[in-house]
Subunit: 252 residues, 2 copies
């Protein structure tokens, strides 16, 4: 278990070999054992293997090749649709068309996703999360035919790895852990915490390729720009509303 | 690994024995190996053991006894503060005061939390997630002194279990998994998926105790009511805004 946790690498190149059905069922079964709010299981997992559908998802996910290559694409959705239907058909009045319920369901979906990721890795499969899921939620909703009260929050691709990358660097533990309460970062804390990352050979290459003075500029100017973040914030908030997760809020 | 995934139980009663420091460091180190967006690690983990602080957190978390009992309380926060400070001190212009960045950071925090939960269980510790974190985010921010761009999204209590509950029921796998695209639920699907849960002895007891006709009513009328959900939606959205995660959106 601990080995699996400590040996995680994101895999971006996959062999064409399919994932055996019993393995896939086992990793999904591991997913549903994750903690879930009030045991409501307010999430759904869409398993996509069909090449035509995967092609559509690949386009939605900024044409990242691994979406086409990996035999299985798993879309994890915050889902209060199933639970609300159950309520309605059981003489109960569901009250889950609101932001808190969306967020609760997103938590459920993400904990299940991480269980699935770890179970997959334990079976020798590789995985990679697709952060593009929230950016392109509207398109994914169309492709997967997601109804009201269902919003995709993350995606995992999985299959047999066709690369074996090294372990990715992480900040020192003291950089992300706070004792008792939050101690805000002073300039010398930031210098110390990021020193290792900034000294990496990989960082030097990135600065050259991107023609930047600092690694932080690669993030702010190229990878995660304010302009994109603001644009996709609006898109994602629109999707949350469109899928019905704000309807109650005007009412009470 | 798979054993740990399949044997998860939430533990709500704890022995007073402390968690050895090396074990705690190991489970936190497992946490930071989780996938993280662009390797930004936009989360923080606040480790609270002090009994006075735990008492304050216990009050925030609806006075659930396990918060006092468990020797360690771990608050997982979406955190773009550290990353933004790094950007500012590296001649870069951070653009993370927006909803998408909040949600990205929340994903990071939740994946790390699930790694920590599993590592803890692998060490023989018990864990329980506290859903009250989002409800009471403002109070938790005060207690833990969380600065702008830091929002608590979930909490884990951990320690040595003083109970050994059975495995909790789950919906059948086909109830939460969709093949290729989402297939919406018809009445007979819902009947089939929820049949097992509704037939449980535990469900019958709940109906009696709560004097309800259906289990769904226990959820809608008592546990997760529309009124509470709407109230806490507004509170949580206010917190996200107050912590600075909507500032960019008016700008571009």
């Amino acid at each position: 278990m601990l080995d699996t946790l400590f040996n995680h690498r994101s895999i971006r190149k996959y062999k064409p070999d399919p994932v055996p059905e019993d393995v896939l069922v086992n990793i999904l079964a591991a997913g549903v054992r994750a903690s879930t709010t009030g045991n409501m299981q307010v999430y759904s997992i869409v398993v996509t293997k069909d090449s035509e559908l995967k092609k559509q998802l690949w386009e939605a996910h900024f044409k990242q090749d691994m979406v086409l290559q990996a035999p299985v694409v798993l879309t994890f959705c915050a889902d209060f649709n199933r639970f609300s239907k159950w309520c309605e058909w059981r003489k109960a009045h569901p009250g889950y068309r609101n932001f808190l319920s969306f967020f609760t369901a997103a938590i459920d979906a993400l904990l299940a996703a991480q269980n699935v990721a770890l179970a997959a890795e334990d079976h020798g499969l590789g995985i990679c999360y697709l952060g593009t899921t929230t950016y392109m939620a509207e398109k994914i909703i169309e492709i997967l035919d997601l109804p009201e009260l269902v919003v995709p929050v993350t995606t995992l691709v999985t299959g047999y790895p066709d690369e074996s990358p090294g372990l990715t660097d992480r900040l020192p533990l003291e950089g992300v852990v706070h004792q008792e309460i939050y101690r805000d970062y002073k300039r010398n804390d930031i210098d110390r915490i990021y020193a290792g990352k900034e000294a990496l050979e990989e960082t030097k290459k990135l600065l050259e390729i991107n023609n930047k003075e600092t690694l932080a500029q690669v993030f702010t100017d190229n990878r995660y720009t304010k302009k994109d973040n603001v644009f996709f914030s609006r898109e994602f908030l629109k999707v949350i509303e469109k899928q019905g997760f704000r309807k109650d809020e005007g009412e009470l």
